[in-house]
């Protein structure tokens, strides 16, 4: 934080500097095992990007719709997509559910296993990948046939084919197998290394998987307990309010499942990629424990507009939602400090002048830092959405898709796009064919998403609803003059994002189709960063915060209890007033 150079380094005399070597992943001697581990991670990541490719190609149609331009009646498109709502369902499911889950399953299986130098059962890992893919394919059939055009929230009593619900449940359920394998691997490491501090990347990964296992229970309960038996005709009907409440048990926490894997890169790898150091490992561990505890019991803030849920519980969940902003604010501090550290190491000067010294031309770096900038704005908007007084102004308006395109659509997606540019070379030994094209792609993604968000937030404030084919309404209520500017911004953003996606995927596909060039263990190692305040290796000698955050299993149990406490009374009341209604197919 010093802005003027001083003659001697600032260091207290009584604390001699401890030099920690930059961490390297423990070596794995068995080459066949390492190759298989890398292969399974690669399969997850490539499947993720294939889903993103299809999903993103549909995106501009949605943006143009909110620009007042309806392309869905074009004969060529009509042959592919039955309606705007089918296109939107595919866009949402592929981008928000499939891309994220597959990428994270590969990323957060590989990282902790390498971080611990563990040997996992590769048969089980491959089985999980195949199961997840089978679930995806099962759900894809009714989606593509317009037999489950339910959007990605699939609220009953709008009804889809049983195959959709079963496939989605299998897909989400297999992510829990990854979670189980990672947690078990960590537990075995703990037993083999008593008294040791869990290394940071493994710690963050395990905490994320534990959080997701608590969070995903709501969706699993909704699927297994209600939607699957209902769609198979075993129940007389479905309770849409109970179903929606279970959905949002998972549905809000899922955003932390999307963003924490990005945080892992921001904390552990970006400092190195920028030439600096991670700020504080103990603080980072605290952040992840807070997310583990507090991510899930906040979901009812998505239901302020729902009847028959008591205002007391809505208010409690609102307070917990505000609290979850705290670990994100801590992240903003730490990551920015590590960037400043990097920039000053590169000769950066001045209060803000150091910013220019960061490697902005490197797409791996710039993608992730632009993602962070986007997340500052998205996070601020999220606090608005979580506020019961503001919520009625923005609920289900175009503001909401504006919001989540700069959170999951940029903070997460753009981070993963940047990460893939070193992670895929690391897994495959292939090279990024053109960092320049990749760089243009990530910058245009950022600009496109900013414009999209501006246009959509603006339209939302003027009362334009979300998820509506506003370019094809029979009444011309969306032609008002004050909508012209935001509509133009939104339409333009669709074109920019289309160009960005074409550039990015051209780089990605050229890389994947190229030949293996390098021994990636040497040329592209996992970019661990040095830490200014490391956690240390021995628990006995570690700081109180490190010791307090180490027992993750206890926090896992506590997280589960918190969810029971915060959802139990609400669900009990819904169950005791169960109101089953029949299903409908209106698409």
């Amino acid at each position: 934080m010093t802005t003027t150079p001083l003659p001697a380094p600032l260091r207290r005399a009584d604390t001699p500097p401890v030099v920690y070597p930059i961490r390297q992943a423990p070596p794995i001697a068995d080459a066949a095992y390492l190759a298989s581990l890398k292969k399974v991670a690669q399969f997850y990541v490539v499947t993720a990007f294939l889903a993103l490719f299809i999903g993103v190609m549909i995106g501009p149609l949605q943006a143009l719709n909110y620009g007042g331009i309806n392309l869905y009646d074009h004969p060529v498109l009509k042959a592919l997509l039955k309606s705007y709502y089918q296109g939107l369902s595919l866009h949402g499911v592929l981008n928000a559910l499939v891309f994220t889950q597959f990428f994270i399953s590969g990323w957060l299986l590989y990282l902790p296993v390498r971080d611990l130098g563990a040997r996992i059962n590769m048969r089980f890992a491959w089985f999980t990948y195949l199961l997840m893919t089978a679930g995806l394919l099962m759900a894809a059939v009714p989606l593509l046939l317009n037999r489950s055009t339910l959007l990605y929230t699939f609220y009953p009593p709008m009804e889809g084919d049983a195959l959709f619900y079963i496939g989605a449940a299998v897909m989400v359920g297999s992510s829990l197998l990854v979670a189980g394998q990672v947690v078990l691997t960590w537990w075995n490491w703990k037993k083999a290394n008593p008294g040791k501090v869990t290394p940071l990347v493994a710690f963050m990964s395990v905490a994320t998987w534990m959080m997701w296992s608590v969070a995903s229970l709501g969706l699993i309960l909704e699927m297994l307990g209600m939607l699957i038996p209902w769609s198979l005709g075993l129940y007389r009907g479905v309770d849409p309010l109970l179903s929606k409440t279970l959905f949002w048990w998972t549905g809000h926490a899922i955003v932390y499942f999307w963003v924490l894997p990005a945080y892992i890169s921001w904390y552990a790898f970006i400092p190195r990629q920028a030439g600096g150091r991670t700020v504080s490992e103990p603080l980072t561990r605290l952040v992840f424990v807070l997310f583990l505890l507090n991510s899930t019991p906040v979901g009812i803030h998505h239901q302020y507009a729902d009847p028959n849920i008591s205002n007391l519980w809505k208010t409690i969940h609102m307070f917990l939602t505000f609290l979850i902003a705290v670990p994100s604010l801590l992240t903003a501090f730490s990551v920015t400090a590590s960037l400043e550290d990097a920039a000053r190491a590169r000769g950066g000067r001045g209060l803000f002048g150091w910013i220019t010294r960061l490697p902005w031309g490197n797409a791996i770096f710039s993608a992730q830092v632009l993602a962070m900038i986007s997340f500052i704005l998205g996070g601020a908007g999220g606090i608005v959405n979580a506020n019961a007084s503001f919520s009625p102004v923005v609920h289900n308006t175009a503001w909401i898709p504006g919001h989540f395109h700069i959170t999951v659509g940029t903070a997460t997606t753009l981070t993963f796009m940047g990460v893939a540019l070193w992670f895929i070379p690391h897994l495959t030994g292939k090279r990024v064919p053109s960092m320049k094209v990749a760089s243009v792609a990530v910058w245009t993604w950022f600009v496109g998403m900013m414009l999209f968000a501006l246009g959509m937030h603006w339209e939302g404030l003027l009362g334009v609803t979300r998820r509506a084919q506003i370019s094809a309404t029979a009444q011309d209520i969306y032609q008002a003059a004050n909508l012209a500017v935001p509509k133009a911004l939104t339409a333009a953003s669709g074109i920019i994002l289309f160009v960005s996606a074409v550039l990015y995927f051209s780089v990605l596909f050229r890389m994947l189709l190229s030949r293996r060039m390098d021994n990636a263990e040497v040329t592209t190692p996992i970019p661990y960063s040095e830490a200014i305040s490391p956690a240390g290796e021995n628990l006995a000698a570690a700081s109180p915060l490190v010791r307090a955050t180490e027992p993750l299993l206890a926090y896992w149990v506590l997280a589960f209890l918190l969810v029971l406490l915060m959802y139990g009374p609400v669900l009990a009341r819904l169950l005791s007033n169960l109101q089953l209604v029949p299903g409908w197919r209106l698409y």
Binding site: P5, P9, L241, Q273, G275, P307, A345, A468, T473, Q579
Partner: protein
């Protein structure tokens, strides 16, 4: 990707543990205070009544409605069978609105300006949303559930009512009106 060396002969003091730890603690304090302040100010806005809060249990006194629930296949037994505004013997106003694919009933709801109106809304098929443009009325309409809230329209005029929850192929055409009429001279 690697640490670039510092320029020789020009040592730049780098961030160090103790300074950072202080800043961190201050920042953590600010973040926590921010969260609590946000909560307190929202509670204050509940009390001042800046938005029409939903009842925890909708339409509890309405015939045919139990615990805020009704059977969407049998609204004939409830006041929703005749959607629209009704004036109770005690002079209070209640508006019954039914959402179905793809329209609200009544298509034009007429309410007087300046008098509190209690809305009761339900759906007879799938989920809908009841958004009255130019107001902060924004409610989920769920089959089997009654949403109730009280609001006062201050100015005469016409508002568009939109469905803002996906309800099928005609969702974007689910557009009706609320007409706020000037109070009649006694």
């Amino acid at each position: 990707m690697t640490n670039s060396p510092r320029p020789p002969g020009n040592p730049i003091p780098r961030l160090e543990h103790h300074t950072l730890e202080r800043y961190e603690s201050v920042w953590l304090g600010i973040a926590a205070v921010l969260a609590v302040l946000l909560f307190a100010s929202t509670l204050a806005s509940f009390i001042s009544g800046t938005y029409p809060a939903l009842r925890g249990e909708g339409g509890h006194h309405i015939s045919g409605v139990t615990n805020g629930r009704l059977d969407p296949r049998n609204i004939a037994a409830t006041p929703f069978a005749q959607p629209g505004l009704r004036e109770n013997p005690d002079g209070s106003l209640e508006a019954f609105v039914v959402a179905k694919a793809f329209a609200f009933e009544p298509a034009v709801l007429r309410v007087p300006a300046g008098r509190p109106v209690t809305f009761h809304i339900t759906s007879v098929d799938v989920m809908h949303g009841y958004e009255v443009q130019g107001t902060n009325i924004n409610v989920s309409v769920i089959p089997g559930q009654v949403a109730s809230f009280t609001t006062t329209f201050r100015q005469p005029g016409t508002h568009t009512t939109l469905c803002n929850e996906y309800c099928g192929i005609g969702h974007h055409n689910m557009i009706n009106r609320v007409v706020v009429e000037a109070p009649q001279a006694p």
